[in-house]
Chain length 328, copies 2
């Protein structure tokens, strides 16, 4: 059994979101709290800009929760950069304990799962969970330096420049986390580092299937089933794979990667990145949960567990996905 | 308060350790389960060899716990490589859920802390925690390719080639985890990527100080206070810093980095790496806990949260340390 149930139902008492201009001009732009004019955020490197975005999201989510930094027992954070330096350097300025996480773009629901267990079990009172990504820091680390001007293939996604963070607490008002399905690694042998959606869809399928099996829920129990960043192609593969297993999520499914941009020529399959699902959840989705326009959602961030070294050494790209059930 | 207490006291029911020839010829060599003749482990790259070591440790720790893979609800793993690929590819072959962690060389006690909370809170029954490192994969990623033959400065440590893993369960026999102190990031501005001990010692000092403050224990309550990989210089700095705060751990303190090698000319300050504390704990320390030669120990892995990019961009090296209290 890969699903855990939270008997005390930890509460998401506040959120914050920060994003670059491209994201702020997209479909959910008006829900983003801190809208940046430039994705450099007054820093001199992409990595430092990303760090500042995550720091800003962490800090503002604490403020928006009517907490002070001293109230926060632990920061749970992760990002895509080598040695998750955005998370480290963003968390360095806080006086809270720190647990660094890495499950690629699935890190946000990984953090929600671990944070909820700490709060639900009575071990910690308030934790903050945050993730970030940055198009320019990710491109030069995973693929090519931007200066090369490489052509992007049509199956590619566009890494989201932004960060999202939320505070989980044992008391307060807000949507509640009721269960979490922890995913296992699934690898169908995809080797194209530009085709993340195809690499992650099988893991997403397995986690969803396990979630419904473990909980007895059906897709219709949810107002929305929100995947992290499968993109358009990956979402189609997920729905096909689920259909083969007798599950139809057509009416409930949305993908953060598909939601985030006004899909134009350059983004092809939509957004991706560790900041994709956290940004969408900590802006648009959270607001709709607060307003009771959404009553019950399943948020499932999806991650592709590759590195440039694993790709160079001929490895395929394993995927992982963790799903968290949230009720308003 | 940064210390959490486990009321049901999760049990470490089995361990496994794998290491290269240098480690097996060291002071704790005879306690290591799988002794390798070559640090390539029949693979064609250092990274794949490290992956195989972690896989072997995870697998054998499950076997040594008299469990089968199906019994394991979740793998909690981390390592030093970019995007923790050793952990991903080692965990890919299991049918368990997977949570990837990164706190550099502090990852082992991070995994024990999160794993204990999951088991103690009744969310999961059995989890396996494992970490690895490899001298040759770490050198070429963090510093220079080995082929360059760079001279090592006297403050340098030698990354341990090996892996350790243990199974934490809600029932069974073995040493029990009673509490964990989650560390915060501490940065004293050290910028020398060869001087890990100095970068990590302030974080180690703060976590230890918080542990004694939160629990009311004194150093004499422990048979051993085991730091992860401060090395000789870092250990001296830790003891000096603690002495200024009125704590003396001289009689209880050992460092896994100091224990692991027969310190010769090349290792200078001793061992380091995410596999250092897991390897020493999952061999020598665990055996002494089982035999009741040790009754109560505090294991505190210590991590230096740098990347080659953060160093190139002029950042200092923050440290973090998490302490776990274990009783036989």
């Amino acid at each position: 059994m890969s699903t855990i149930f939270f008997k005390n139902k930890p509460i998401i008492i506040g959120v914050s979101s920060v994003a670059g201009p491209k994201e702020c001009n997209g479909c959910i732009g008006k829900y983003i709290e801190t809208k940046l004019d430039s994705d450099m955020f007054n820093e001199n490197t992409f990595e430092k800009a990303e760090t500042k975005m995550l720091y800003t999201a962490l800090k503002n989510s604490i403020k928006n929760s009517n907490k002070i930094e001293k109230d926060i027992d632990c920061i749970l954070a992760g990002d895509l950069l080598n040695q998750i330096i955005s998370s480290t350097f963003a968390s360095r300025n806080f006086d809270s304990s720190y647990l660094g996480l890495y499950n690629a773009c699935a890190t946000f629901t990984e953090a929600l799962t671990i944070g909820s267990a700490f709060v639900d079990g009575g071990y910690l009172k308030n934790v903050v969970c945050g993730t970030s990504s940055h198009f320019s820091s990710a491109e030069r680390q995973y693929r090519y330096p931007l200066e090369l001007g490489s052509t992007r293939p049509p199956q590619a996604q566009w890494t989201v420049t932004g960060a999202g963070a939320c505070v989980i607490s044992n008391v307060g008002k807000g949507p509640k986390i009721t269960s979490a399905t922890i995913g296992r690694i699934v690898d169908y042998g995809v080797v194209d580092a530009n085709n993340m959606g195809a690499a992650m869809a099988p893991a997403a399928c397995e986690t969803l299937y396990n979630h419904f099996n473990d909980t007895g829920f059906v897709p219709e129990d949810y107002d929305l089933i929100i995947t992290g960043d499968l993109g358009t192609l990956g979402s189609r593969i997920l729905k096909d794979l689920l259909y083969e297993k007798g599950l139809n999520i057509e009416n409930q499914h949305v993908d953060c990667g598909e939601l985030i941009f006004n899909i134009a020529e350059t983004e092809y399959q939509g957004g991706s990145g560790a900041g994709c699902s956290s940004l969408v959840f900590c802006s648009y989705i959270y607001e709709r949960l607060l307003n009771k326009k959404l009553k019950k959602v399943l948020l499932m961030s999806t991650g592709a567990l590759l590195s440039s070294v694993s790709t160079q050494q001929g490895e395929s790209i394993p995927g992982v996905a963790h799903a968290v059930s949230i009720e308003s």
